[in-house]
Amino acid sequence: MAWFMGIDIGSVMSKGVVTRDGKLVAHHMLASGVNYRNVSLRLREELLADTGLGAEDITRTVTTGHAAGLIPLSNKHVADTQCCARGSNYIFPSVRMVIDVQGQSSQVIHLDERGQITGFAVSEACASGSGYFIEAIANVLQVPLEDIGSLSLYAKNPVTFTTGCAVFGESEAISRVAEGVTKEDIIAGVHKALAGKISVLIDRVGLEEPCAISGGGGLNIGLIRSIEELGIQLLIPSQPQIVNALGAALFAGEQDS
């Protein structure tokens, strides 16, 4: 019996998945911190403990995400775009487009029925196109990140951010607070702003449906609603953060055959 591992080192969270016979059997998540080497080794330990396996039982490990080249236990590195397409295809075989909202970037991916990429667009190297923007505003408003999505659903009058820059956006949020604008309206404004950046990416490759979301952004119901307001129905995985790690593990398995 062959077991495979996928490790995805993200800018915020690191995720690990174990598969057997092309099926997901275990997954684990840890905060990435600054030492990617350490976090990848800890992830493996946790996954082995969860499955009761030894390191020698893992036939192959594929890594993806940040600094994947630094990770000691990798047999191969696969780009996160490919892993995202592969993982999304496993969860939703009918999906033809994925919106992947990560901590430091966003991407829109077109894929075929086998989970292979047919086109994609990635956000520029600018924090306002990524989950960071939401994190920064959550921080300014002192709202825990996990509450930010549901809180924004109570917005009555979402603010419009005049800037496309996450740094200036923070100052703008502070000014709005000083003017007495509610946290809900400010947060909903950030979700709208990020959805706007994603819509630019979608325009670049064209809209395909069915469409799924992945990455940390998939946990944020406020962001999901803002994207849906663009006229896109989203399929939401129960564990949107592990999609890329899952894709990596599936790639590890496929190489064996």
């Binding site: 960071y132 820059c165 996450a166």
Partner: protein, 269 residues
């Protein structure tokens, strides 16, 4: 920052005050004005003409006239360096390049969409390194091998700085990398204006010797920095006020003054 400059008829500076704009001063430009009047030892009525400029120029209820910062800036730079062909101004929220000849503005470029390439970038980096903004420039001159900062985005550059620190890169090399990054960005921005000397560098960032040196390396020649690089816009405004007054007097016309109210700004004016 809010700056007030009072000039006498010989163009001597009788008062200059620089204060944080902040949320309060935006409404209270009058307090900065009062401080300048006290410094100059004159009453408000003795001021022949008041020009307000900059982002907050419409929130100055005691001005006779508002003029854009580009015009005022060009005039102020001309006062310092009559031969200036290009002025580079890097403030806290934007960066501008002004192509000019004999004080006349010919063309300009501006960047205010992104914090990278503005003083804000340096402020945030200084804060994450626990450094005083004023110390960054000098410290960076000790660098022997500047660190490479590849991110344009301020947020990502800040993370890159943290990574460099954890890799053991000396602080001065990181700072040199940061100054190089901002100088590259600004040089790229002003390239559209066909750069030729003399280049005058103003704004808060012109107080940073590290950025000055990096900019000179990129341009291939020296740049000139006024003694007080924050004041060029305000001095330009004062000089334009004097010109308006003298022109009216020469034509024998009364000086057209605004409805001055030396009080705090309200939204209803």
């Amino acid at each position: 920052m809010t700056k007030v400059v009072i000039l006498n008829s010989n163009d001597d500076i009788c008062a200059d005050v620089i204060k944080h704009t902040g949320a309060e001063h935006r409404r209270l430009a009058n307090t900065v004005m009062e401080e300048a009047l006290e410094q100059a030892g004159v009453s408000f009525d003795e001021i022949s003409y008041v020009i307000a400029t900059g982002y907050g120029r419409i929130t100055v209820p005691f001005a006779d006239r508002q003029i854009t910062e580009l015009t005022c800036h060009a005039r102020g730079v001309y006062h310092y360096v009559p031969s200036a062909k290009l002025a580079i101004d890097i403030g806290g929220q934007d960066a501008k390049g002004l192509k000019m000849n004999c004080g006349k503005l010919l063309d300009f470029v501006m960047s205010d969409k992104c914090a990278a390439g503005t003083g804000r970038f340096l402020e945030l980096i200084a804060a994450s390194l626990d450094l005083k903004l004023d110390d960054m420039g000098k410290l960076s001159l000790k660098s022997t091998s500047k660190a490479s900062i590849s991110s344009t985005c301020t947020v990502f550059a800040r993370q890159e700085v943290v990574t460099r620190i954890s890799e053991g890169v000396p602080l001065e090399d990181i700072l040199a990398g940061i100054h190089d990054a901002i100088a590259s960005r600004i040089t790229r921005m002003v390239e559209k204006l066909k750069i030729e000397p003399d280049v005058v560098f103003t704004g808060g960032v012109a107080k940073n010797i590290g950025v000055i040196k990096s900019l000179e390396t990129k341009l291939g020649f020296k740049v000139m920095v006024p003694e007080e690089p924050l004041l060029s816009g305000a001095i330009g405004a004062a000089l334009l006020g004097k010109e308006i007054t003298l022109k009216a007097l020469a034509q024998g016309k009364p000086v057209q003054r605004g409805r001055r109210s030396l009080s705090e700004s309200t939204f209803f004016q």
